[in-house]
């Protein structure tokens, strides 16, 4: 009889354990613990308040649950003057000792998340609400992660003791159930672009792509993508990528498959001595516009319609100095824009170094920019 009681108690405990496990199971397979984030190079929001963090130092992409899921249709315009000084004061240091590495807006709540690095390399993730700042603690947080240290497709035997490659994550995005990661190597000059299905699993096929673009149909280069976005053109989904040498190149998303040599279509060149920084898409009156911030040029605006109608690829060299080629674009009166993200369908969040040296976070409206 005693044995029977023990057996029944054991069964009950087991059922309770299973039930408890079931009730805490995260829909995206995230587990609670400490996310060992060593650096924050890029941020991007996925579904349901999931924030992806590109960590170059540990060659890892983290997915963390911000639990920030309250939907807000229209965001209030943001204006924080001298944001670097305000962040520095909240971190107990001076503005010269911190750098803002990326800014991402949660598309659901429209809350702003900001990646900051102190001069000793400590990464900090801040959530901004008006003038108030709050740190996102990586302890006791629901997260999952995936390593991007290995070159996909290379098995252990092929690697033959080769050291892991250092690379810097240059941009991160989420589209169609996949995390897209572009990387810059600090060794070889080449493109590393990955498409990783989310939720992450332990055994995961990662697509690593060789992405090429051509200059005027004469020369072809494998070059690193600096920043990218995704867009639908003529009913087809595209990766819109900009390179360290500023051509704007389109790739059909459906063609991005593992081990493939994908050749993109160069639709524009945005001039010399410049490196693209960020891209966002805004809509107005049924039209979509691409905005691109640059290291040495003002923000540029391109109507997606002109990309759709530009069927060719650049074939003729440009003769004019500092001229640009391909689809038409408009330069906006916004220089030294260091970061940009979409605040909502009609507003862009802009981090800009002003002419007087101030670093301000402000909101550009579609009415002003389109």
């Amino acid at each position: 009889m005693k044995k029977l009681y023990f057996f029944a108690a054991g069964c009950a405990a087991f059922i309770l354990l299973i039930a408890a496990n079931k009730s805490t199971k995260h829909p995206y397979g995230l587990k609670t613990g400490t996310a060992a984030v060593q650096s924050i190079s890029a941020l991007a929001f996925g579904p349901d308040g999931i924030l992806f963090i590109g960590d170059s130092r540990s060659a890892t992409v983290f997915a963390i649950d911000t639990k920030d899921k309250t939907s807000v249709e229209k965001a209030a315009a943001v204006e924080i003057k001298n944001i670097d000084q305000k962040i520095a004061a909240a971190l107990g240091t001076e503005a010269k000792n911190i750098r803002i590495l990326d800014i991402a807006v949660n598309p659901l709540s429209k809350k702003i998340y900001c990646a900051v690095q102190s001069s000793d390399g400590t990464p900090v993730l801040l959530a901004l609400e008006g003038d108030k700042m709050q740190t996102i603690n990586f302890k006791d947080i629901a997260f999952s992660n995936i390593s991007i240290a290995n070159v996909p497709g290379e098995d252990a035997k092929d690697k033959g003791g080769r050291p892991l490659r250092d690379q810097s994550i240059s941009d991160l995005g989420y589209a169609d159930g996949s995390v897209l990661v572009s990387g810059l190597s600090n060794q070889e000059f080449g493109s590393t672009f990955r498409k990783i299905a989310f939720p992450f699993t332990e055994k995961q096929e990662q697509a690593s792509l060789e992405i090429f673009h051509a200059a005027h149909g004469k020369y072809e280069t494998n070059s690193p993508i600096r920043t990218f976005t995704t867009a639908e053109l003529n009913g087809k989904k595209y990766l819109v990528a900009s390179y360290t040498c500023t051509p704007l190149v389109l790739f059909a998303l459906e063609e991005l498959k593992p081990g493939k040599h994908v050749k993109g279509r160069t639709v524009a060149e945005f001039g010399a001595g410049n490196s693209p920084i960020d891209m966002v898409t805004l809509k107005k009156d049924g039209n979509s516009y691409l905005f691109m911030a640059n290291s040495n040029r003002p923000v540029m605006r391109v109507n997606y319609k002109s990309i759709e109608t530009y069927e060719g690829t650049l074939t003729e060299p440009i003769k004019e100095s500092y001229a640009t080629a391909g689809v038409n674009f408009v330069t906006l009166p916004a220089v030294n824009v260091l970061q940009m993200d979409k605040l909502d369908e009609t507003q862009v969040l802009v981090l800009q170094r002003r002419a007087n040296g101030d670093l301000d976070l402000w909101t550009a409206t579609g009415d002003r920019w389109i």
């Binding site: 107990g92 810059l184 360290t244 040498c245 010399a272 410049n274 500092y322």
Partner: protein
């Protein structure tokens, strides 16, 4: 010079003062301990000021739940409480800021907006000064289409400073802008001791608009000096010891991929740890030579050892950890190995589509050698 004066001692006479001295010392230490118990102090983790310790005696009547609202640490002249965590450690409240406190700055401890204490984080005089070890390529002549340089530092450096701290001077006269690509984040190794800088690839790639408009970043036949300013600081805030300068002249364009078949291999003797020396016939990429070349035996066992790069990155020396056996070995080179112009073993930096390309696309290139 120290002068030591000695006096003859009468032990009987000294006993009483010694006893009183000891009593006084204990009392003094007791007072000191009592005082330090009541002082706000810095918590150190190695050389890092990682927290502030506030004795609970200084916080009468404050409950644990209200600590976050009532106790604030802040910089003077700001009304912004510093972000961090509070915890109770035995008889003190410990505040740990999100990032370490900054040396040389003063911090205020405030309770209900009243100043309790001000504490200054001292500067560290024991820190070592960072130095520039080397700039690669080391050759005094570089190709017209030089793609990148590496700068090696002795300590981890502060990021985001490179374009401000590095200047390029042409023909000893002009400081020229836009030689290096403005890339944020910068390309550092994990230790932040090696910085990779690319010359603007848009200007190197033939026929791309920036190349047509502005030409190559470097001019053939011109001489250049790279100047690294000494006000560049390391992660501990210490600036470089001196300005660093390196000169080079610009030669012809390099439009050929490196060819491993032209490498001259000097084989070592068996039962020795003599180095294997390879003459590369041209300057190749320093970091890739260190990372993309391996030696293995005929059974594909990797031979452990160190790779050293010799004169002008034209020589690779492999020093094995254990003695060579007689037999066949392989030098295995990943195809990503590049020359100074970014041409790798498989392809040129920019491929001319009107000309037939190199048909063979291998992941690794191999050369065998015999130890005998």
């Amino acid at each position: 010079m120290d002068i030591i004066v000695t006096f003859p001692i009468n032990h009987k006479m000294t006993r009483l003062p010694v006893i009183w001295g000891l009593v006084f010392s204990f009392l003094f230490i007791g007072c000191f301990e009592k005082k330090s118990d009541q002082m706000v102090a810095i918590e150190w983790e190695g050389k890092q000021p990682r927290g502030i310790r506030i004795p609970l005696k200084l916080l009468p009547g404050i409950s644990y739940d209200s600590v976050g609202q009532l106790v604030h640490i802040q910089l003077p002249n700001t009304k912004t409480p510093i972000l961090g965590e509070y915890s109770i450690m035995e008889d003190a409240l410990l505040f740990r800021p999100v990032i370490a406190f900054t040396r040389g700055l003063k911090y205020e401890v405030r309770i209900s907006d009243k100043l309790l204490s001000e504490i200054e984080i001292p500067l560290d005089s024991t820190l070592t000064v960072p130095e520039v070890g080397c700039i690669f390529p080391t050759s005094d002549t570089v190709p017209l289409n030089l793609l990148k340089i590496y700068i090696l530092f002795s300590k981890p450096m502060q990021e985001g400073q490179s374009l401000d701290k590095i200047k390029v001077i042409r023909n000893r006269l002009d400081t020229i802008p836009s030689v290096f690509l403005d890339l944020q984040p910068e390309l550092w190794n994990k230790q932040r001791t090696i910085l990779t800088l690319w010359l603007d690839p848009g200007r190197i790639k033939r026929d791309l608009q920036p190349n047509k408009a502005m030409g190559s970043p470097l001019q053939q036949g011109a001489s250049y000096q790279i100047l690294i300013r000494k006000d560049w600081r390391d992660v501990e805030g210490v600036p470089l010891a001196n300005d660093y300068r390196q000169n080079f002249v610009v030669g012809l364009r390099d439009s050929l991929s490196p060819a491993t078949e032209s490498w001259k291999i000097h084989t070592p003797k068996p039962a020795t740890t003599q180095p294997l020396k390879i003459e590369l016939q041209e300057s190749l990429d320093y970091v890739l030579l260190k990372n993309a070349v391996r030696i293995h035996d005929d059974k594909r066992n990797v031979i452990n050892g160190d790779i050293e790069i010799g004169t002008e990155e034209k020589i690779l020396v492999f020093i094995p950890s254990v003695a060579w056996n007689a037999g066949k070995y392989w030098v295995e080179v990943e195809s990503r190995l590049e020359d100074l112009a970014g041409n790798n073993l498989n392809r040129l930096f920019d491929k001319d589509l009107s000309k037939p390309g190199k048909g063979e696309q291998k992941q690794v290139y191999k050369r065998s050698f015999h130890v005998q």
